[in-house]
Symmetry: C2
């Protein structure tokens, strides 16, 4: 493709990985962010939130991967329209450093992710194939876009519709290999007749003896999923560690930046030092210590000596379908 030809680097480029910093002050050090999103559907609220991120857009490369389904075609068209607009019509300061859009090479007919409704998607029996396919999509996106000058990778799902604008700076300031905010969901509470919020992402957890025992009794290809009654793990879920903020008075007291060490992470929003991926930590599409995808990634990173921390009180919000 002509775009492909243009993307080629010049004949010779030299990089000293030692000069690529990854610090608590990425903005001051002009560190490059690679913001990666696997996208099945296009959600305008995701896009608007993305545009509001206050980290300098000129330091952000966007990477997307979309499935080759009918839904994926539709999302690709919507996405391309928005990209073309921001990169050519929007004020200079809104434009991103570069944007890469990938389409999966799966046969849509074979894709375990194709045409499943929300209910079906969450059934235990389907989770394994679904999470494996998601892992492959994330890996393909990662290895195709990470470059020698990337400092941080921010994973942001296409259905995360609300984050603080300083998300990147706020997470990076923890200076941790992997940092995860708490993913909640807003909903209309019929009881209180008011908008409310509830925990959404249960993949951020601290391991338990019960889960370790379940795992040790499993066959090598079995997977331990979180959030299924038939498989009680008694893990500590970060989703439930958020301090209640019903009462506006203690707002100032809650520590937004409180950290907890995590053994499993979700991918809704996830900041990773690029060196973690460079060392070879990726999203296993095969059972890795009985874990798949983002949960397996946390375990693999740990095997490589990198820890993950979660921020129970720092919230981002998932779309409510």
């Amino acid at each position: 493709s002509p775009a492909g030809a243009m993307l080629q680097p010049p004949p010779v480029a030299r990089y000293n990985l030692n000069n690529v910093t990854t610090t608590a002050r990425p903005l001051e050090n002009r560190e490059n962010i690679l913001l990666l999103t696997p996208m099945a559907r296009f959600n305008p609220a995701y896009w608007d939130n993305l545009l509001r991120l206050s980290y300098p857009h000129e330091l952000i490369t966007l990477g997307f991967i979309l499935p080759r389904t009918r839904e994926g075609n539709l999302a690709t068209r919507e996405l391309q329209k928005r990209i073309a607009h921001v990169q050519t019509q929007a004020p200079e300061r809104d434009r991103f450093k570069s944007v890469v859009v990938l389409r999966e090479d799966l046969d849509p007919a074979l894709s375990p992710l194709a045409s499943q409704d929300e209910r079906e998607r969450h059934q235990l029996a389907r989770q394994k194939a679904r999470r494996a396919a998601m892992a492959k999509a994330r890996n393909a996106l990662l290895v195709s876009t990470l470059g020698p000058s990337t400092s941080w990778v921010l994973w942001l799902d296409a259905d995360v519709v609300e984050t603080p604008p300083a998300l990147i700076q706020d997470l990076a300031r923890h200076d941790k290999p992997i940092v995860v905010p708490n993913c909640f969901q807003r909903f209309y509470n019929a009881r209180t007749q008011a908008m409310d919020e509830r925990p959404y992402d249960f993949n951020n957890w601290i391991d338990s003896d019960a889960a370790r025992e379940l795992a040790s009794a499993m066959g090598p290809d079995d997977v331990l999923f979180e959030g299924y009654a038939e498989m009680a793990t008694y893990r500590t879920l970060m989703a439930y560690l958020a301090k209640d903020d019903d009462n506006d008075d203690d707002e100032g007291e809650r520590d937004l930046h409180e950290e907890v060490l995590l053994d499993g992470v979700g991918g809704a929003a996830l900041l990773v030092k690029a060196d973690v991926h460079r060392d070879g930590a990726m999203f296993p599409a095969f059972p890795f210590y009985h874990l798949l995808e983002t949960e397996g990634f946390a375990k693999m990173a740990k095997r490589l000596g990198w820890e993950a921390v979660g921020l129970p009180n720092y919230k981002v919000y998932h779309y409510n379908e």
Copy 2:
């Protein structure tokens, strides 16, 4: 760096991974090769052999990673000189599509690979740290250079000094996810008073019951290395499967393209379909099924459903130090 700035892709690029073919006829289909070399020392014979590869250079991107040791500095200077020459002075058809040179970000003082002589390097006790560091160097090189239009990755060590010029076409024609030639070494045979050759790379093997039993008795962080008397694996080594070619008469009869299925592979020369890496198969720097680096890579690829084949009679040659 200015080179870094120039390397940026244009604002928007779109790729359909489905259109990137990886076939038995890469040349006819104009498939892009990413040729990756971790390099501790510069060997002119490696470079001369590289230049003789008959696959169109305009379809080959070269990627190097060098350690931040004194030796690595020296090798980087030698390499840069050769690169500058071929990319600007050599005839058009000798020039490569692009070249990326990376320097590791390890503290050389901490590097387990620093200043070890050949003897020491091969001792069992040091192998673990050494292979883990090599794995990280390979992963950093891979994720920093693989792009959306890469079809194949050829791993070629910097001390592989002789291969058939059609190496890429010859290996690709097997149309296998991973293909490994047999790595030999030329030497002067004092007995026959003539040049001779002997097996060199023992990381290409077929698993054995004995090795599986050794592994199952090991602790989770223990590693099973090949080629050490104190750890007899009884694996079948591809190095010893090459048909004797002392007798020139049977030359025509030997099947250069005979295949054997492998469970472990070495990295001296290794052709990999880019999709294998895109799915997340990398070089584990932690014990993975008691295997590290290239041997662990073969196992990880297998877990992802990709097989490795070796070509016992198709030879490449390692430098004789």
